[in-house]
Structure formats: C-alpha cells, structure tokens
C-alpha cells in the first residue's frame, strides 16, 4: 500500500517568507508526527496529532511554527517569517493509533527546506 508522502520534496524560500509543507499519512492512521532534522543530527520532535487535535505541540520551537490536521488525515506544517536557521529536512510520520509505546511510526521521505 501507499506509504507516507510529503510535498514538496524540496522548497527554497527567502528569509521572511511564509511556507507550507504537506504530509499525507498512511490511510487509516490516526496519529501523525512532525519532526525536523538538521544535518548530522537525529530527527527532533515538533508536534504530534491524535486525529484532528494536536495532542502535544511542545516541540514547536516558537510561535512562527504552526501545524493543522483539519480532517484527521492530511496535515500542513506552516512556518511564518522564515529564518535561515529554519533550514532543515522536515519529516512527517504516521502510526496506527499512537496510543501505545508499541505503535510503530512510518516516515515519509521528508521536505528539504532551504531559507536563503
């Protein structure tokens, strides 16, 4: 079956601009996660959705970052007033329920964001 997909695969923007990154999770997965990965580092948790609601957004670095999942499937990560330090690969993952530590996350290929 189809895995997690993310669009665009690459995004280049200028400092100060607004960007949206999209994630299509595996069909039927209720839990969705966003991570950010800088070069040479492991993924860093940003936000976790259970259905339509953000169950934990404690990883968002500041109020320029926001994510939505209005219908409990597709999610959009929104970054306002981008800064050069926002440059990274943004990963999305989904899992069946997120209601257990045994719930496996399936990752998308990521969106590489470059802020000039």
């Amino acid at each position: 079956g189809a895995g997690v997909s993310q669009t665009p695969s690459n995004k280049v923007t200028e400092k100060g601009k607004y960007v949206e990154l999209r994630c299509d999770p595996i069909s039927g997965h209720t839990a969705l996660y966003w991570y950010r990965q800088s070069l040479g580092q492991g993924p860093e948790f940003l936000i976790y959705f259970q259905g339509t609601g953000a169950a934990d957004d404690s990883g968002l670095p500041n109020d320029r970052f926001f994510a939505v999942r209005p219908e409990g499937s597709v999610s959009t990560l929104k970054i306002q007033r981008t800064e050069r330090g926002d440059s990274a690969v943004y990963l999305c993952a989904s899992s069946r329920s997120g209601r257990s530590g045994a719930d496996t996350q399936y990752f998308g290929p990521g969106t590489r964001l470059t802020v000039l």
């Binding site: 492991g42 948790f45 934990d56 404690s58 990963l91 257990s100 719930d103 496996t104 996350q105 990752f107």
Partner: protein, 113 residues
C-alpha cells in the same frame, strides 16, 4: 525523559555480525524500544521493536536485559547496503510526552567490502 546514548560510528566488514548498543537508563515502565535505519535523503525506516527479553524478525534481533536500561540491535551477516545511520528510540507518546520521541544522534554504520 528516556534519553538514549549510542556510539557515534561503527565499521564492519561484509558478512560479519554487527551489534549496536543503546543505553537508556531512565526508561519508563510503559516505554517500548524501537530501532530505525536511515539512509541519506530518506526518512527513518522501522527495523525492530521490543519491550523486554529478545525479539527477532527477518532482518534483525533485539536483545533487552531484564533491567531494560540498554538494548542491543544485532544485524546478522551485514552487506554493503546496510551502511546507514541506526537510531534507537525509547518512549510512549500516549502515556508520556511525545517530546520523548526525540532521536539521539544515531550510530553511523559503515560496512566495508
């Protein structure tokens, strides 16, 4: 938070067994241990998961001692295509904080011919 510690890098030769150990001294009762593999320009890929003792699947084994303060990923007879970064992840997003779901820096495994 169940912080994890892994070796930064390991080298091996084709056909050898590779064991990568992860320390997680503060693991909580409901936490599971999951290992992921990541190739350049790809998202992490699930390898194996366990709670205690030993788990084996078609690609790897996971050994977890009784105190669960560490775990060892065992890759039998590695090939060049196993060259990747390996992460252990410890947490329970539902019972605890999803922020626990932060990967460490991982272990860069390089398989040599």
């Amino acid at each position: 938070l169940a912080k994890t510690t892994q070796p930064i890098s390991m080298d091996s030769y084709e056909g050898q067994e590779v064991n990568i150990t992860c320390s997680h001294n503060n693991i909580a009762t409901n936490d599971y241990i999951t290992w992921y593999q990541q190739f350049p320009s790809q998202g992490p890929r699930f390898i194996i998961q366990g709670y205690k003792t030993k788990v084996t699947n078609e690609v790897a084994s996971l050994f977890i001692p009784a105190d669960r303060k560490s775990s060892t990923l065992s890759l039998p007879r590695v090939s060049l295509s196993d060259t990747a970064v390996y992460y252990c992840l410890v947490g329970d997003p539902w019972g605890g904080s999803a922020r626990q779901l932060t990967f460490g820096s991982g272990t860069q495994l390089t398989v040599l011919p």
